[in-house]
């Protein structure tokens, strides 16, 4: 997390969004994504009361019939809903009901953004009709749902459109023929290169984009019944994956769209956003607003309070007065691998005061990296240029052969009943359990600092190489048969 500078300037950052995608205004960038939290007007009004700046209505179209069950989740290490999956379709309510309520919401909350998410059959007439009715009802903007990966795509809608650039462009054009409000196209990630559809939307005249929709998924299989989740009477179906697990994928797609001039448009970022810091990251990659679904389904509308408060406090600390002050600042910090400096070198450094002696870095480096974090305190004997060290299993074997006894007397308890019987903790980490990095062998991969449970215990420190910066591109440019390293 970024450090908040001391002596932060005394101002109240302005979170308002102005003229997004050519005309959408709202008090803050936090929108509820088109999903169950925006199913009806009553919900959306409560959400606005809770502090949300906008809402994209649960996709409106010819009503459908849903199945039960509809959701499943990935729990991780006892945490619920690291990833979330659904096989729900668009709104199951009549178009008239949704639009009547939309009018009511807009009447009561004129300053908030209400976006109509739309999906209808792929004919010009159907799209013209729904666009006009939505705008007549008072929508501030339209979001074309080209992203839904399940159910609707079987009917030629949703991602069936979003995966074919020509269709996406055609329908965007139909919509733009009649639309008076900004038109956002919601992109599906279920495609080899998300930019192809972004470009098509731009060519079709879209005013903005929303990304990403959910990712095709099977979340898991019930090992008793052998039926994948969610179970609908003994069968399951491909679903759409979202929640914290998808954020890195979403960030990558957002960045690739915003870095591509032929794709870049005002963007509403979506995918795994749950906190202010997630939101800040999407905005740093160029998003003008952000949308949230899973986190709101998990904890309710109240999460927006800390999102707004936290973003504002971070902006204060950084000296950003408006969202525009930092929007997009990180887009150009992502580059192709070939432009990275090959002469930049860092090595791992363990803070012995912080180390708790779990020795996870040792086994991670031995089994998963470069065998250069050791439990022996001395440099090993040398075989040629290779230093010899006991392998991890020899440490374990030694432990198994130790004779440990319970410290039963008070004296034994303060001193330990023997070398390997602990005195009654807490006591400092024994030196024998504080690993040591052989920095001459360390390749600076970061693995140990990723596994270390203690914050800032393993830091990666720069070692000056004395060499001028040089990229792969520079090193091979002009060479006769330069070959690009494959990026895996």
């Amino acid at each position: 997390m970024s450090s908040i500078k001391s002596g932060s300037p005394h101002f109240t950052p302005d979170l308002a969004v102005r003229n997004f995608a050519g005309g959408i205004n709202c008090p803050n960038p936090f929108w509820l994504a088109s999903a169950p939290p925006t199913n009806c007007g009553e919900q959306i009004m409560r959400a606005f009361d809770a502090g949300w700046g906008g809402a994209v209505w649960k996709t409106i179209g010819a009503p459908i019939t849903n199945v039960s069950s509809r959701y499943s989740s990935i729990d991780w290490m006892g945490q619920r809903m690291m990833g979330f999956n659904n096989i729900e379709l668009i709104s199951d309510r009549p178009i008239e009901t949704n639009l009547r309520e939309l009018t009511e919401v807009k009447k009561r909350y004129p300053a908030h953004a209400v976006i109509a998410s739309l999906m209808v059959e792929s004919t010009r007439e159907a799209w013209h009709d729904i666009v006009q009715r939505s705008e007549d009802a008072g929508a501030d903007g339209l979001e074309l749902n080209f992203g839904c990966p399940h159910g609707m795509s079987e009917r030629g809608m949703g991602s069936a459109v979003g995966q074919v650039p020509e269709y996406a462009q055609m329908i965007t054009e139909w919509v733009k023929e009649v639309a008076r409000t900004p038109v956002l196209v919601k992109l599906t990630p279920n495609i080899a290169d998300i930019r192809t559809v972004a470009r098509a939307a731009k060519l079709g005249g879209a005013d903005g984009l929303s990304a990403i929709n959910t990712i095709n998924s099977i979340t898991g299989i019930d090992l008793d019944t052998l039926v994948p989740r969610p179970n609908v009477g003994g069968k399951s179906s491909h679903g759409g994956y979202c929640g914290p697990a998808v954020k890195p994928i979403a960030l990558n797609m957002v960045q690739s769209v915003m870095a591509d001039p032929a794709s870049a448009l005002p963007l509403s970022g979506i995918g795994g956003i749950a906190t202010w810091s997630d939101a800040a990251e999407f905005i740093l990659l160029g998003c003008g607003t952000v949308q949230v679904c899973t986190a709101a389904m998990h904890y309710g509308y109240r999460i927006v309070e800390d999102m707004a408060d936290g973003l504002s406090n971070w902006m204060r600390g950084k000296g950003f007065r408006t969202l525009e002050d930092f929007r997009g600042l990180s887009v150009n910090r992502v580059t192709e691998w070939k432009h990275l400096n090959l002469n930049f070198k860092i090595v791992a450094q363990i803070d012995e005061q912080k180390c708790i002696g779990c020795d996870l870095c040792h086994i991670a480096c031995w089994d998963g990296a470069h065998q250069c974090i050791h439990l022996d305190r001395v440099s090993g004997p040398v075989d040629g240029h290779v230093e010899l060290h006991p392998i991890p299993t020899s440490h374990e074997a030694a432990s198994h052969n130790r004779i440990t006894v319970t410290s039963v007397t008070r004296r034994e308890r303060t001193q330990g009943a023997g070398l390997h019987s602990p005195a009654h903790g807490p006591y400092p980490t024994p030196l024998a359990r504080i690993p040591r990095v052989d920095q001459t062998e360390c390749v600076g991969c970061n693995l140990c600092s990723c596994v270390c449970p203690v914050d800032n215990c393993i830091t990666m420190v720069e070692v000056p190489t004395g060499l001028p910066p040089e990229t792969w591109d520079e090193r091979t440019r002009g060479a006769n048969c330069a070959t690009e390293p494959p990026i895996l």
Binding site: G357, D359, S399, R402, P422, H424, G425
Partner: protein
């Protein structure tokens, strides 16, 4: 022929009620959450700190992943009495005391509770202790005593296919797990259930049979290839004060009063022979056993219960958590006091004469506290009580050990080679309290296990020699 090891035992309902569990088990969900806290340390310090070296992160991660059977098996691989251990081990000075979480400013992983979770599931599954019985090997071993040391030795030998006979002088097997450990930690019934699993592996039990004479030992030597001695310690030491030896023990209808030592009280209530006490009780001593006895008296209805100790509160030899527990149970303490005589009052109650004492000098070597005390002048006073419970430690089985020829006994302990449990007699092995001078259940198990491996190693090398000769 006995059907189960517990046939002569049935739990007394009043005891069950008075000695409700101190640490109720974790719910399944809580166990998963707790197991996920474990960092899965490499060469984990908790595992090293466990005398039986249970692979703690290994079994905890199996709970986290939902592999409960694997978790139980992983634990049993290292410790066949892990069910008892999870309930009775002083984990604060063992695995949990070594957990790195202490240095991470977090509470240690509740290793004992997680172990219990896995062991409860194992017991509920009805699976045998040894899933695939090994081929028999021509090795016959007798284990004398049926406490944790002998049981661990016996089970480990059965795993290798040996024939094992456990010989126990008491009617129920299990040693102090059955007769000694506080009921709110480990009920006698649960101890017996664990022994039953060991019996089902094919271990033969001869109960109510004491090995006490040289002749009996020689008979064992003739019948078996090796003998493991896991006979524990002897009776409680007496206070050595006037009036103590007069048998003033009385009571009727499961009630008791008079003078009885801690072990007598504990084994009597655990087997349902005593179910209530009343009036004032004085416990002499401040070790773990003294605390167990004091808490037991309290739970049986005695009031007030006072512990008398010759040193101060900072010198209590009991574990800190036991001392805290005693205070929570409402035990009061009289420090720097020693009893000098016990007299009988007219109404049948006891008059305990007590004197304040102070230590004389300090023990010269290694900073140990002095063992000698002198009375504080004019400090004598008398306490009236219904029961006095001496609890100043168990004495070694001196008389019995004297019968064991060729087996060296040092300071009341059978001398053994630590790594193999071998005594000075090549066919006798020993472990547990009788060899380590009195530690904990898990130490006895570790000793028994090492001795089994020691016996197997001797057997295998003998077999090899025989093979080479052919």
């Amino acid at each position: 022929m006995l059907t189960t090891v517990s046939s002569p035992f049935s739990e007394h309902p009043e005891i069950r009620q008075r000695f409700a569990e101190l640490h109720p088990p974790l719910s399944a969900q809580a166990a998963v959450v707790e197991s996920n806290r474990c960092l899965h340390c490499f060469d984990a310090p908790c595992m090293v700190a466990c005398p039986t070296h249970i692979d703690v992160p290994g079994f905890i991660k199996r709970i986290a992943s939902g592999n409960l059977r694997g978790s139980g098996r992983k634990i049993l691989d290292a410790n066949v009495l892990a069910g008892s251990c999870s309930r009775v081990c002083p984990v604060e000075v063992l695995c949990e005391g070594a957990c790195v979480m202490h240095r991470y400013d977090r509470p240690p992983i509740q290793i004992a509770q997680l172990q219990r979770h896995a062991m409860d599931a194992f017991h509920a599954s009805g699976e045998p202790l040894i899933p695939v019985p090994p081929p028999a090997i021509p090795l016959r071993v007798a284990c004398v005593g049926s406490g944790p040391a002998s049981l661990a030795c016996a089970a480990e030998l059965r795993r290798a296919g040996a024939q094992v006979t456990v010989i126990e002088r008491r009617p129920l097997p299990g040693g102090l797990n059955t007769y000694g450990v506080a009921e709110y930690k480990l009920p006698t019934a649960d101890s017996l259930r664990e022994v039953e699993l060991i019996r089902q592996t094919g271990v033969e039990f001869r109960l109510s049979e004491a090995i006490e004479t040289t002749a009996q030992l020689e008979a064992l030597e003739a019948e078996f290839d090796y003998v493991f001695l896991g006979v524990g310690l002897g009776a409680m030491q007496s206070l050595g004060i006037p009036g103590e030896s007069e048998s003033i023990q009385g009571g009727a209808d499961h009630e008791t009063h008079g003078i009885l030592n801690a072990l007598q009280l504990i084994s009597a209530y655990k087997t349902g022979h005593i179910t209530k006490m009343s009036g004032a009780v004085v416990v002499v001593g401040a070790g773990n056993t003294a605390i167990d006895a004091a808490v037991a008296a309290r739970r049986l209805g005695a009031d007030p219960v006072t512990m008398l100790y010759r040193r101060g509160p900072n010198d209590v030899s009991a574990f800190d958590f036991e001392f805290d527990h005693a205070r929570r149970e409402g035990i009061s303490f009289l420090w720097h006091r020693l009893p000098v005589a016990i007299r009988k009052a007219q109404d049948g109650s006891l008059l305990l004469d007590i004197e304040a004492v102070q230590p004389i000098g300090n023990h010269p070597a290694d900073n140990r506290k002095s063992d000698r005390f002198e009375p504080v002048p004019h400090s004598l006073f008398t306490m009236e009580c219904r029961t006095v419970i001496p609890a100043i430690g168990q004495s070694p089985l001196t008389q019995l050990l004297a019968e064991f020829r060729h087996i060296t006994v040092e300071q009341g302990r059978i001398a053994i080679e630590r790594a193999t449990g071998q005594t000075t007699h090549p066919r006798f092995f020993a472990g547990g309290d009788c060899a380590n001078g009195g530690r904990e259940v898990v130490d006895a198990i570790a000793d028994g296990k090492r001795a089994a491996h020691g016996i197997l190693a001797k057997f295998n090398s003998a077999a090899e020699v025989a093979h080479v000769k052919h």
